[in-house]
């Protein structure tokens, strides 16, 4: 599936670092609508992400906090019998910086849950901080995208989730990196790839 190409080597590295990457390729057929749970504490961002998703033919549920998201999923500790089969969330998109529970903490809770760890989680953030990005990806985030979120971001993510194998799109987990960042990123990937190849 993946060639030994450098750009995809990074992806291989990321996938090998996480336990399971929750790409539910098999579970969403072409005719079904993607149901996305969006989490953001900002009124403006919630409105924008909702519209971006709806215009991309997704069913959207928007909540304003991590705790609300867990409540919605039934993960808030209230031992109701798991009716999550009815919910069928295919993707969770969450803001990183939120009061109370950050997107990272929400990501962890989702990946710790046996019921929901398969659901891909995308982190959105206005901040391009490498250590933060790596931490999220290591914890199992599908992608880390920079705000402001554009329609092209949503379309790309949707393609990935729905299994756009046929397309030759290079998945870039972080867009709009400065040249310096890109070089550092490239060097890191090369170094890690070398280590990985050594281990194999």
């Amino acid at each position: 599936m993946f060639s030994g190409d450098m750009a995809t080597a990074g992806e291989i590295l990321r996938r090998s670092l996480t336990d399971e990457v929750g790409v539910s390729k098999g579970s969403v057929s072409g005719s079904e609508e993607l149901h996305v749970l969006a989490v953001d504490d900002s009124f403006v961002d919630r409105k924008v992400i909702e519209r971006l998703l709806k215009i991309s033919s997704c069913k959207v549920t928007v909540v304003e906090s991590g705790s609300r998201a867990l409540q919605y999923l039934g993960l808030d500790g209230e031992k109701s019998s798991v009716g999550f089969n009815d919910l069928k969330i295919n993707l969770i998109m969450t803001d990183y910086s939120m009061p109370g529970m950050t997107g990272y903490e929400l990501l962890k809770k989702i990946k710790e849950s046996s019921a929901f760890r398969e659901i891909p989680v995308v982190i959105m953030s206005s901040e391009n901080i490498l250590t933060r990005i790596d931490r999220c990806l290591e914890e199992g985030a599908e992608e880390y995208i920079l705000k402001p979120v554009k329609l092209s971001d949503v379309k790309r993510i949707k393609d990935v989730i729905m299994g756009g194998d046929g397309k030759q799109k290079k998945r870039r987990s972080v867009r709009k990196r400065g040249r310096e960042d890109r070089n550092l990123f490239t060097i890191t990937i090369v170094a890690c790839t070398v280590i990985l190849i050594d281990c194999v």
Partner: protein
């Protein structure tokens, strides 16, 4: 034709907002999300933004009135303000927020 003139005026005003650096391409993204089924999308978002901003500005003003400035709190408000400004393409506001945050981080109350 008054209507045509008005339309022209609106177009010019809109363009000048871009030219003067008040708006950036994110605003165009929002405009693209508007269609016949959702003809007031941009207006709705901007209204939300104004309401949100007014609340944030009030909070910031209150925080600035205190004798000893809580830079962390101020930075927090500005982070939110910067975020929503960025989401609607309010370029100049976003730049001001960035500058404000730099002052916060340096503990520069005068700035």
């Amino acid at each position: 034709m008054e209507r045509t003139q008005l339309r022209r005026q609106v177009a010019l005003t809109r363009q000048s907002l871009f030219d003067q650096g008040f708006l950036d391409e994110q605003f165009i993204q929002l405009e693209d999300l508007q269609d016949d089924a959702n003809p007031n999308f941009v207006e709705e978002v901007v209204t939300l933004y104004y309401r949100d901003s007014a609340r944030l500005i009030t909070n910031i003003e209150k925080a600035l009135e205190k004798n000893s400035l809580d830079f962390n709190k101020l930075d927090g408000f500005m982070h939110q303000f910067k975020g929503s400004s960025s989401s609607i393409g309010a370029k100049k506001v976003k730049a001001e927020c960035t500058l404000f945050r730099e002052y916060c981080r340096a503990g520069n109350g005068e700035g």
